[in-house]
């Protein structure tokens, strides 16, 4: 087969090999041995483990997006979220019992946060679910602390020099979630529509929420007119 022009149309020769591989065989064996021992000793059952995986899989960035959209539309909620993030998440029916402490970092006109865990891959899993592979990669963890603006640029994010970029390295017992700025042109959107603008990456701080497209704004405005007409 001609490598340069594979049948799927992708130019496979154009980029370096994907370096994200799974855990090494030794770690897989270690995990399996420890898991089997814990189950054999009755510390937990295989069913407990399956249920825990189900709980983890049910957590998605949509939870975070709901929280952010609510904070954008309700200033009192935003104050509560910044003061006590776990209590505010509970208010939004996100289960954060038995999960690490959480702090929400508010982006402003002058301050932009980006989150990393240089020591391992700490991440607000209770809110966002499983972290993306790039967040756990050595490349991201090593580079974002040293050249945050360069890394942000690779995500398509360029911030004025007057904005302080603050990298927050979650080295200990806290998990961090970024509260991005509400994008311009979103003032007519409902809370549910706003939530669709909030992506996982902007709650890590590597991107900004996209301004709603002109069509989305028109649709929202038309929907509002219909609601007004109906009353």
């Amino acid at each position: 087969m001609d490598d340069k022009h594979a049948p799927d149309g992708h130019d496979h020769a154009a980029h370096a090999a994907i370096e994200e591989t799974g855990p090494s065989p030794e770690f897989l064996l270690l995990e399996q041995a420890v898991r089997e021992l814990l189950i054999a000793k009755g510390v937990f059952t295989a069913d407990d483990m399956r249920r825990q995986i189900d709980v983890m899989d049910s957590r998605t960035p949509a939870q975070g997006a709901r929280i952010v959209a609510h904070a954008w539309t309700d200033p009192a909620f935003k104050r509560r979220l910044l003061a006590d993030a776990k209590a505010a998440a509970t208010e939004m029916d996100v289960d954060v019992k038995n999960t690490p402490e959480l702090i929400v970092l508010e982006n402003t006109e002058r301050l932009h946060h980006v989150v990393v865990c240089t020591l391992c891959s700490c991440y607000p899993k209770a809110i966002l679910g499983i972290p993306p592979a790039w967040y756990k990669s050595v490349q991201y963890r090593a580079r974002v602390v040293k050249d945050p603006r360069g890394v942000l640029k690779e995500f398509g994010t360029e911030l004025p020099a007057a904005v302080e970029v603050k990298v927050v390295d979650s080295t200990a017992d806290l998990r961090y979630l970024v509260l991005p700025r509400r994008p311009p042109g979103s003032d007519k959107l409902s809370e549910a529509e706003l939530a669709t603008l909030v992506t996982r990456d902007c709650m890590i701080g590597v991107t900004l929420p996209a301004a709603p497209s002109a069509t989305a704004r028109a649709a929202a405005s038309a929907a509002r007119d219909r609601r007004t007409d109906a009353t």
Partner: protein
């Protein structure tokens, strides 16, 4: 343990390298902040010391934990970025000493 430092206090991170010693250790203080001067941004509460927890010990008394902010350019003078950019790490109290405004790069 009540917190020794308050928001706005200048601190110096100990320039210690316990991982170079003869015993196995678990350390949560990233290399890049050791010996650096920072400012307390948040007082985060107390937590059992992970340096003990990692070896099955109770980690008590719980250690005060702080979010400490550093100037990006103090840590990486040749790095890119704007003069106001910063980096923060969460550090346990026993890694911190009070700093005057002149100290740093220990």
């Amino acid at each position: 343990m009540s917190a020794r430092f308050h928001v706005g206090d200048a601190v110096l991170v100990r320039n210690a390298w316990p991982e170079d010693g003869p015993t196995r250790v678990h350390v949560r203080t990233p290399h890049y902040v050791r010996g650096q001067r920072g400012v307390i941004d948040r007082v985060l509460g107390t937590f059992p010391n992970p340096e003990d927890l990692a070896f099955g010990r109770p980690g008590l008394p719980a250690q005060p934990l702080y979010q400490v902010r550093f100037r990006q350019r103090d840590i990486w003078p040749r790095g890119g970025g704007a003069p106001g950019d910063s980096i923060a790490a969460d550090l346990y109290e026993h890694w911190l000493e009070p700093a005057t405004t002149e100290q740093g790069h220990g």
